[in-house]
Amino acid sequence: MKRRIGIRLALIAATILVSLVLFLPSTPLYSSMPDWWKRYLPSQGVTLGLDLQGGMHVVLRVESDKAVEGIVDRALATLPPALIDRKLAGVTPKRIGPLELELDFTGQETEEATGTLRDGLIKLMEDSYPTLYNTDRTIPKEKGQPGRLVFRVRESDAARIKESAVSQALETIRNRVDQFGVAEPLIQRQETDQILVQLPGIKDPQRALDLIGRTAQLEFTLLDEESPVWSKLPAFVPVGQEETIVKEISPQLAADDELLFERETVKDTGDVRKRPYIVKRIPALTGDLLTDARVSIGQFNEAYVSITFNSAGAQLFKKVTTDNVKKRLAIVLDNTVYSAPVIQEPINNGRAQISGSFTTQQANDLAVVLRAGALPAPVTIIQNVTVGPTLGRDSIEAGIKAALVGAGLVLLFMLVYYRLSGLIADVALLFNVVLLVGALAMFGATLTLPGLAGIILTIGMAVDSNILIFERIREELRQQRPVRLAIDAGYEKAFVTIIDSHVTTLITALVLFMLGTGPIKGFAVTLSLGVTINLFTSIVGTRVVFDWISGRRKLDTLSI
């Protein structure tokens, strides 16, 4: 019997030691620990959740449908030159649905010509656009039937493109966050098309949001300076009126033109207004061809972003600038014109500048997103929870203060009500908390406000177990049982109850852990760990102390 007590005592001492080592990094004490301690023993304290340390929790949804629609956009952009290449005249490609385009070749003189054209078109589409398939919706050979072909994005390709849009967006956002410089960011995919971004301790949440949420689709697009519609455009549009103007003007524009705006700040008054531009719908050059983007400072101390194209981009840029000297080229980012300079001469070095009225920080962020690349599809923010660092600190300070007061009251009560036994229970209770925090640190769990709630419930259950045991022992003592037997009987009878109550709670905790999201999960983690630890301390922990006390000498009374 004595030897078994020894073993149990040793086991408990070892557990206390290990948990203390795990617990210490979570306390302020840790900073004053000796160096050798920090070097060889765990240094990872409990990670605080964003609600406690402050930070930003954002869920983005990748509009992956848009990435699929992009296939049709690209086909429409590249078809005209391809048609010319293959000498297929008299064909009008146009979009007829999000995932469908139509090739209209009505108006051929003979049926034979229509047939030849049809075969040529099918061949071209098969060769150059494998993701689009012929829906065979019209039978043009019948007499009087118009010559039309409808092509649609293949379902299997659409699924693949959606999938890769999300994973690519994840990668791009990760790159951007890395360049932004946040300590311990969490970026992960959830559901099928969502991305969770957690940035602890962030100081400027709006800036971070702009940085990760921006599509950053950079395009160089020629202005349609010959369009007759220019004369109908006002020089400036007040902010907020863009939609009305677009509605009014768009029907008059040529099919391959669109209306975009540039944001302008009036120097004297600081007012913001929008300047409209008629630009070609199909860009001459896009941002995916660049290799670098850097912030530079111009001669008037204004910040701009200078970009460098890769060799393919540089060649294309050279061709565009050579062919269009004295014409205006708009630099468009996410459908907003940044500037529309006149091409003075062909540019051979593959460099360009994006200017606008940037602050250095804005220019810097723009360079970051351009370097990291555009998102393959736009993202929308569906959840954004930001907790400032002071609020987080206030919460945790108040929470800890309240927990200390609450625990103090409970400890005091136990001590007064159960005396020596109460003291034993109190020590076990403290040990319980140390173990729990240590375990949380070991498993790398995050402590959130609901997690604190889980700890409080655990403390409640720990107290409950001890009270159960003590009340049972008291009952036995009232029946004049000797101390030794009363302790044994008390533990034995309470044991079943403790197991039952803990297992039921554990079931709840595990289900919540598996099915719960976010805060509920945090609660479940602390609760499951807490319940397990509780079971250990209340059944093994305090028991050994009682056994040790009653085993050393024959007790006539027990302080309980």
């Binding site: 869920v59 949440p205 709006q206 929308t380 923010i381 569906i382 959840q383 954004n384 929870v385 930001t386 907790v387 400032g388 002071t390 609020l391 206030d394 919460s395 108040a398 929470g399 203060k401 309240a402 927990a403 609450g406 625990a407 009251l409 409970v410 009560f413 009500y417 159960y418 005396r419 406000l449 609901p450 604190l452 709630a453 889980g454 409080i456 419930l457 409640g460 259950m461 107290v463 409950d464 009270i467 159960l468 009340e471 009952e475 009878k493 079943v496 039952d500 109550s501 297992v503 039921t504 709670t505 709840t508 905790a509 289900v511 919540l512 099915l515 719960g516 999201t517 976010g518 509920i520």
Partner: protein
Amino acid sequence: MLELLGKTKIDFMSKRFIAFALSGLLMLSGVAALVQISRGHANLGIDFSGGTALQVRFAQPVLLSDARAALAGGGFGDAELQEMKTGNALLVRVKRQTSIEEKAAEKISALLQQRFPGNTLTVESTMEIGPTIGQHLRDDAVLATTIALVGIMIYIALRFEFRFGVAAAIATIHDVLAVLGILYLLDKEITLLVITSLLTLAGYSLTDKVVVFDRIRENLRHRRQESITEVINASINKVLSRTVVVSLCMVLAVSALYWWGGEVLHDFSLAMLLGVVIGTYSSVFVASPLLILWRGPIRA
């Protein structure tokens, strides 16, 4: 031996009809709350309803009416404003479905800063929740709770008897509904944190029921001569001092959270406090009498 209660001999079961009436009322309020919540008429937190909430702190005190006027002028006439207990902080909530692209939070802080130019404003927290998220969270919480309850019922049915499992589950649901009902009547905001507190109190309440049932089971085996009502009464009296002492400890701990835990934990601890009281009550007056209503195979 210091004792709060000596040996008691209270006839709890004779009071069961009063208790059933009271519990019926409590559950009714809870059901009403549930109905209102699902209809979207309850005071749901932003995390469930979707919308925008932000907490701002001013360097100097501001008048609530001035702030309200400023927001109304900027198209946020439907914003709810609430002064925080601690220094010059203001909580602004817009519960309508704001798309996040509107940047409502940014606009609101700009409007307030415009209205009080000399008064430095810090945004302490913002929360913008899209419509789909709230629905998702709600479904998740309901699903998890249901499965947990079923799991517990099965466990208790295996360890005790089927009717014990059902009684414990009903009593636990009773507690959660009662607290939800009271919170609804007090017009407290139902946030995710409050839901967590409901889960916490479900855990606590269940433990409490198991303790009482354990004693009833034990006594049903040992005291075969007595009627079930007598056995239940005796069992409850036996565990009464434990029940009272444990509840007292919980009340001590949770009251501390209520008074000193800060704004965020305030409603959470209120729900817990209610839960401890109601949970203790229902172990004695709801869960146990249910066993009389539904007599199992042990005794007719």
